[in-house]
Amino acid sequence: MLRVELDVVQRWIAPGSRVLDLGCGDGALLDLLKASRGIEGYGIEIDASKITQCIARGINVIEADLDQGLADFPDKSFDTVLMTNSLQVLRRPDRTIAEMLRIGRECVVTFPNFGNIRTRLSLIARGRMPVTRQLPYEWYDTPNIHFCTVNDFEDLCRQLGTRILDREFVGEQFPDQLLQAAWPNLFCATAVYHLATDI
C-alpha cells in the first residue's frame, strides 16, 4: 500500500472506532490503525498463510470468502468497513459493496483506476492487456477479474444509492499528482473513496 493512500485511509477512520477490514492480508493495516487510531475490530482473509501472519502479529482475523457474502455480520455492526485494493478480485464487487454499506455505518474503498492514462496508452499502443508496475499480471493469471475506472465506480455508487462523503486520488508520480485533481479518471492510479448510505 502506498504511503499517501495509507494516510488518506487513516484520516477517515475515527479514533477508537470499530473496524472490519475485508481482504486484510497480513494484517499490517489493522496493526497500524490499532497503533495510530486505537481501533478495535477484525480482518477478513481467505489466504491461509496471510491468516497465520495476522495471528502471529496478534491481529483478529476471521477466515471467510468475501464472494460467499458476509451474512455472519449484522446490519450496522461496525463504524467503518474497509476494503483496500481487493475490489477488482471479487466475483461480484457490486454485491460486496452493498454488503459493506449494510454492515458499516461508513465504508472506505480503495482500488486501482483502470482508466489511468498509462493503462489506456498501454492498451492502445500495444493492443494488449496492460501490464504495469501496479498491475503486474498477465491477463490469464491475474487475480484481478473486475477492473473499473473512477467513473465506473461512481456510476455504481449512484446505482447503490451511496453517498460519497469524500474521495482522494493517488497518482504514481509527477506530473500525475498535479493533473489528477482536474482529470482524476485519467491521472489517478489508486482511488480512495469514503462512502456512507443515504438514510
Binding site: 491468516i51 449484522p74 455492526s77
Partner: protein
C-alpha cells in the same frame, strides 16, 4: 535415558494423584463427597505463576497427553505432536497441566472408583455430570497448583466445550481460550451417533445394566461397536478411501470360492474397537457421551450465545477442519459469530485436512503453524 526419546519430546513423565476432600456440589444436585484427579504436568511454573496452560481432553482422552511413561513405550501421550519443547504448546515456555477428568476411567474418580458409601465401585451409580462440573473440579486443581489465571485453556471437541465453559464461568481466570473442532451444542445427527454407540453398549449381554463389574465381565462387544461407529464418524470418506480403498485383508473376489472376504477397512475398525474395549469403561462412555449431548453453552444465558460470551474476558482462537463432519466448520463459525457479536477478540481459521474430526489430534503443518503463531504471542505476555 532421555537420549532415547525423540527430539521435541517431554521425555519420561509420571502422573501424580491429587486428592480433594472438600465435597463437590454437582449440577445434577448431588454431591461428590471427595474426589481424586490424576494429573500430568510438563514444563515449569514461572515465578509470577502466569504461564500455566490447561489441556482439556475429549471423549476418550486422559491425563497422559505428552511424553512416555516408560522408556519401552512405543507410543507417546495422545497430543504429543503438539506438546513439548519447541512445539506449539511449548513446554520450554509454558507450564502445561493435563488431567483425567472426573467420570473418566484412567485413574480419576469415576465409575471405576470406589463409592465410599457402599465400599464397591460406583459403576452406573456415579452421578451424571455436566461440563461445568469438570470446570469446577479443574478450578479446585488450579487453586491447589497456585494458578489464579490460566495463560490459556485449550481443548478439542468436548475439550473445546470445556475450554469455552471455563471462559464463560470464570472470565477472570482465562487469558486465552483455544477452541478446536468444537461446537456450542451438538446437532441432532451428532446426538444420534452417540445414542447408537450407547445402545451398542447397553444391548451387550455382558453390560448387565451397568453392573458388569459385579459379574466380573466387560461388555467388550458393545464397547467395540460403539468405538467402531464413532471412529467412522471421526474420519472422512476421502481419507478412508485413500487409506483402505477396497483392499482385501483376506479372501478373494474369484468366483466359486467360499473363502470369506475381509476388506482392510473392516479389520482396521475391528482392531480399533477391540483395542478400545480393552481399556475403556462402559459406564464412563455412557456418562461422557451424555455430557456431550447435554452441553449447551448458552442454555443458562437465555439461549443467547452472545450473552454468554459477553461475560468472557479471554481472547479466542477458533480452529476447524475442512473435512470434519462430526464437528463441522459451520459449528465453529457459529462460535465466531457469537464472539464477534459479543465484541470479543477472536481469530478463526478452517484448516484444510482429509482427516475429518480426528485432524485435531494429528500432525498438520498449517494447524501447527497457526497454533504455534498464536501461542508464541501468549507466551510473550506471560
Amino acid at each position: 535415558m532421555p537420549d532415547s526419546f525423540p527430539p521435541g519430546s517431554v521425555g519420561l513423565v509420571a502422573p501424580a494423584v491429587f486428592r480433594f476432600d472438600t465435597p463437590l456440589a454437582l449440577s445434577c444436585g448431588r454431591t461428590l463427597p471427595g474426589f481424586e484427579l490424576v494429573v500430568e504436568t510438563y514444563g515449569e511454573l514461572n515465578a509470577a505463576r502466569s504461564n500455566a496452560v490447561l489441556i482439556c481432553h475429549a471423549l476418550s482422552g486422559h491425563h497422559h497427553a505428552a511424553g512416555f511413561h516408560d522408556p519401552a513405550d512405543t507410543k507417546p501421550g495422545w497430543w504429543d505432536h503438539y506438546i513439548g519443547p519447541g512445539k506449539p504448546i511449548d513446554t520450554d515456555r509454558f507450564y502445561v497441566v493435563c488431567l483425567n477428568n472426573i467420570g473418566g476411567c484412567h485413574g480419576s474418580t469415576g465409575p471405576r472408583a470406589l463409592n465410599p458409601e457402599t465400599g464397591g465401585p460406583w459403576g452406573k451409580h456415579f452421578p451424571p455430570l455436566r461440563v461445568r462440573d469438570w470446570v469446577a473440579s479443574q478450578a479446585l486443581l488450579a487453586d491447589r497448583l497456585g494458578i489464579a489465571q490460566w495463560a490459556a485453556v485449550i481443548g478439542g471437541s468436548l475439550g473445546g466445550m470445556n475450554a469455552m465453559r471455563w471462559a464463560v464461568e470464570h472470565p477472570e481466570r482465562v487469558r486465552h481460550c483455544l477452541v478446536i473442532a468444537s461446537a456450542m451444542k451438538l446437532t441432532a445427527q451428532n446426538i444420534a451417533f452417540n445414542e447408537i454407540a450407547r445402545r451398542a453398549i447397553r444391548s451387550d449381554p455382558d453390560f448387565h445394566d451397568g453392573d458388569f463389574a459385579e459379574y466380573g465381565v466387560v461388555p467388550r462387544n458393545g464397547l467395540a461397536l460403539a468405538r467402531m461407529v464413532g471412529h467412522v464418524t471421526y474420519l472422512s470418506d476421502a481419507l478412508m478411501g485413500e487409506r483402505f480403498g477396497r483392499e482385501l485383508r483376506s479372501g478373494s473376489f474369484q468366483h466359486g470360492l467360499d473363502a470369506p472376504v475381509q476388506f482392510a477397512v473392516e479389520s482396521y475398525l475391528h482392531h480399533q474397537g477391540d483395542k478400545f474395549a480393552e481399556s475403556f469403561d462402559a459406564n464412563t462412555y455412557l456418562l461422557i457421551t451424555k455430557m456431550l449431548d447435554y452441553f449447551d453453552l448458552a442454555r443458562e444465558y437465555g439461549d443467547d450465545p452472545v450473552r454468554a460470551f459477553a461475560r468472557t474476558q479471554a481472547r479466542f482462537l477458533v480452529v476447524s477442519f475442512s473435512s470434519d463432519w462430526r464437528f463441522a466448520p459451520e459449528r465453529s463459525r457459529e462460535i465466531v459469530r457469537a464472539l464477534v457479536g459479543a465484541r470479543r477478540d477472536v481469530s478463526y481459521t478452517c484448516v484444510e485436512s482429509d482427516f475429518g474430526h480426528d485432524a485435531f489430534l494429528l500432525p498438520n503443518p498449517r494447524y501447527e503453524a497457526v497454533m504455534g503463531a498464536y501461542l508464541k504471542r501468549v507466551a510473550e505476555t506471560c
